[in-house]
């Protein structure tokens, strides 16, 4: 007993030094188990089991087979059940034959010569499996990996849509091109920062115009402490915690230009700051329904004066499914233009009302970049266009959007959950 104990001690000491694991096997010949028979890989089950992303793997060299002539496998072993899930280290072709392309996006496996009990593992029941995939990614039975979970709140998008507009019973055919950059950054504690850059919609055709914002920022927060408490003293004193998740929304340089008949209008918002109140938000803060209100400073550059525009908005942005394929966006907005100079053909303090609802659905992904279908409907009622009677005008749009970046969501599940 003494000799193996000393040997084990030495082995553990040596194992402290990085890169010296190979010697462990040298000093522990007692643990080497030579299988009496060559390892046998079981027939594949249907569907194939999947390796766990977080479980450690050993790179095993097994006898060559017709499909895997290199004999190189990745094994995830369970000593208790004496079972290993084994997957080839290289992708397979359509016929199931091993190719020269190594598996992508797998975690490193421990080489066999660094694993003292590798021979023992080969005596376990070896069951064919699909190698692990990172959260948000799926690996097919050939070992090819693909992203199936997309964060559309972190992307650069380019899109186009057919967006006709109806006003006073007449329809105007328009095309819409849109692009922008969306970034989401989790902050300290329960806080989520959202940024949008050069978010732009360009309308072409009849009633052309554009709407573009250089930068927009807001955050959602889930506060640990209630904003304030109310204690009542009627009978037994009771305390009520009022949780109010107040946040901030702001935008810098928002330009809007439009034409209606002979009237051309252009508005440049230098900056806007709103306080936000989340009526509801999801656990990960990504989805929300909130109200926000605050002032903005706006330049009416067609008429040449600057105004103060207080506004209030009820809006929602909901990611409807776990994998980020379905998105619903809603908004109701009211604004009043103050401190304006008198312009013939419009009120001194014009008002604007806007309503919108939109749905975006990922149709497919091209090289892991999502292509989504966008449909939305919008309505606007505004008095700020000179000589244009205030009327509701409605538009509907249907188009496609191609997104770059769009990594897996932070809450992405592991691949085995696909389709569940």
């Amino acid at each position: 007993m003494l000799v193996p104990a000393v040997a084990l001690g030495c082995a553990l000491l040596l194992a402290q030094t990085e890169g010296e694991e190979a010697r462990v096997a040298d000093v522990l010949p007692v643990l080497r188990v030579e299988p009496a028979e060559p390892p046998v890989i079981q027939p594949p089950a249907s569907p194939l089991p999947r390796q766990d992303w977080y479980a450690p793997k050993v790179c095993l060299r097994l006898p060559p087979t017709k499909e895997v002539p290199s004999g190189q496998w990745r094994a995830q072993c369970d000593a208790k059940a004496r079972r290993c899930l084994v997957a080839p280290r290289y992708e397979r072709d359509a016929e199931g034959q091993e190719t020269e392309r190594p598996l992508e996006r797998v975690r490193a496996c421990t080489e066999e010569f660094h694993t003292p009990d590798a021979a023992l593992l080969k005596t376990y029941r070896l069951e064919p499996a699909v190698a692990e995939a990172p959260p948000g990614w799926y690996r097919d039975e050939r070992g090819r990996v693909m992203q199936f979970n997309f964060d559309l709140n972190r992307r650069l998008w380019l899109g186009g849509a057919w967006a006709p507009l109806w006003r006073e019973g007449d329809a105007a055919g328009r095309m819409r091109a849109d692009f922008g950059i969306a970034v989401e950054i989790p902050g300290e504690g329960r806080r989520l920062h959202r940024l949008r850059f050069i978010e732009t919609e360009l309308y072409l055709g009849d009633l052309a115009g554009f709407d573009s914002t250089l930068m927009r920022y807001d955050f959602s927060v889930e506060r640990k402490e209630p904003l304030f408490r109310v204690t009542t003293f009627f009978g037994k004193p009771r305390r009520y915690d009022i949780d109010i998740n107040l946040g901030l929304w702001m935008e810098v340089l928002h330009a809007e230009e439009l034409e209606r008949g002979a009237t051309e209008a252009g508005f440049l918002t230098w900056g806007a700051v709103h306080a936000t109140l989340d009526l509801w938000h999801s656990k990960d803060l990504v989805s929300y329904v909130r109200v926000r209100a605050g002032p903005s400073v706006e330049r009416d550059y067609k008429n040449g004066f600057t105004t103060l525009v207080p506004g209030a908005v009820l809006e929602g942005d909901l990611t409807l499914d776990r994998d980020g394929f379905h998105h619903l966006r809603l908004g109701v907005e009211a604004e009043k233009v103050l401190l304006a100079q008198r312009v013939e053909g419009r009120p001194l303090r014009p008002e604007r009302l806007r309503v919108s609802a939109g749905y975006e659905f990922i149709l497919l992904a091209i090289n892991d970049q999502p292509l989504s279908l966008v449909v939305d409907g919008r309505g606007a009622w505004r008095e700020d266009l000179a000589n244009v009677p205030a009327r509701w005008e409605w538009s509907a749009a249907a188009g496609l959007r191609y997104s770059l970046w769009a990594p897996a969501r932070r809450s992405a599940p592991k691949a085995p959950d696909v389709g569940e």
Binding site: R101, Y138, L158, L204, F325, L364, N367, D368, V418
Partner: protein, 313 residues
């Protein structure tokens, strides 16, 4: 002459002493495949040893370097001298979100000026092609068990920002393409940065300011763009071709068709103090896309340029 002058100036700057036995510094931006390959010994074909045993570069990267050149340009039969300058930068990176390589070519602060009776200039703040390479491109159909369909293309993003054209002889005014972005598909899917062929739609916005006022035109992915390049492995030869054809919409004056094609050839003739001197030949044709008046014209040019700091060490 200017190019040669610059080359001689660079010669005057003493090259740093190199230990013949020391390993050559690793090149900043090799192709992704090379970046992961084991470093080759000093006897690499790109770094032969001179009589004193010191290595000297004979391979260059056409996508890297500080370019300064001069030459002769002929436009619609009228000749003029020209000057070219710019910064080229080629990088490779692995996407963190997708785990696949990107081959990126950036061209910054590009200036092309010409004299003569029809003097003018073009200046481009930033122009790039960003190609994401996949060994096996695919389309994912999000069924319950994701379905993978073959899609044999790399996807390239081709942004260009701030392209200004000023033609003095056309009178007061200028043409500014504020932004252009192309979404190109590359069927060649090369594993190196030396070969590419991108074709796809482009969106752009252009502002023409003349004595008649400002004119905005946009092309909302209604223009098709082609961008192709072929470079020899040692970078001594480089061939590039690009084309653009499609419809632009004037916010005030309707729709019009425009087209443009350009091809260029570069050959490294010699290197002075390890900085290559390059012969540049190019030809271009613009159909209703040149200058304030959106005229049609052809151009041919030949010149010499120094492409400093483009040697592959």
């Amino acid at each position: 002459m200017l190019a040669l002058g610059l080359a001689l100036l660079l010669t005057a700057t003493e090259a740093p002493e190199r230990d013949a036995h020391a390993e050559p510094p690793v090149r900043a931006a090799p192709s992704m495949r090379k970046a992961h390959a084991p470093r080759e010994p000093d006897t690499t074909p790109c770094l032969p040893l001179d009589a004193r045993g010191e290595p000297y570069p004979i391979c260059f990267d056409p996508g890297d370097g500080l370019v300064l050149g001069t030459g002769l340009r002929v436009r619609d039969g009228t000749g003029a001298t020209s000057l070219r300058a710019g910064v080229h930068l080629r990088t490779g990176r692995t996407s963190r979100s997708k785990g696949t390589p990107w081959f990126n070519s950036h061209r910054l602060l590009g200036l092309d000026a010409w004299g003569g009776a029809r003097r003018g200039l073009t200046f481009t703040a930033y122009d790039a092609t960003l190609r994401r390479h996949l060994e096996e491109g695919f389309i994912l159909v999000p069924t319950a068990r994701p379905l993978r369909l073959p899609f044999p293309f790399d996807v390239t993003l081709a942004p260009r920002l701030g392209h200004l054209e000023r033609r003095v002889w056309e009178g007061p005014g200028w043409t500014l393409e504020t932004g252009r972005v192309g979404l190109l598909l590359d069927p060649i899917r090369s594993e190196t940065e030396h070969v590419w062929l991108g074709v796809g739609p482009v969106a752009s916005h252009t502002l023409r300011r003349s004595r008649d006022g400002a004119e905005h035109t946009v092309s909302p992915f209604t223009t098709l763009m082609l961008d192709a390049g072929l470079e020899s492995g040692d970078g001594l030869w480089a061939l590039r071709a690009s084309g653009l054809a499609g419809w632009s919409l004037g916010l005030d004056n309707g729709t019009f068709f425009r087209a443009r094609a350009e091809a260029g050839l570069e050959r490294v003739l010699l290197a002075v103090a390890d900085q290559p001197v390059v012969l540049q030949l190019s030809g271009a044709y613009a159909h209703r896309d040149a200058g304030l008046a959106r005229r049609s014209e052809w151009t041919a040019s030949a010149g010499l340029a120094v492409r400093a700091f483009s040697a592959r060490w």
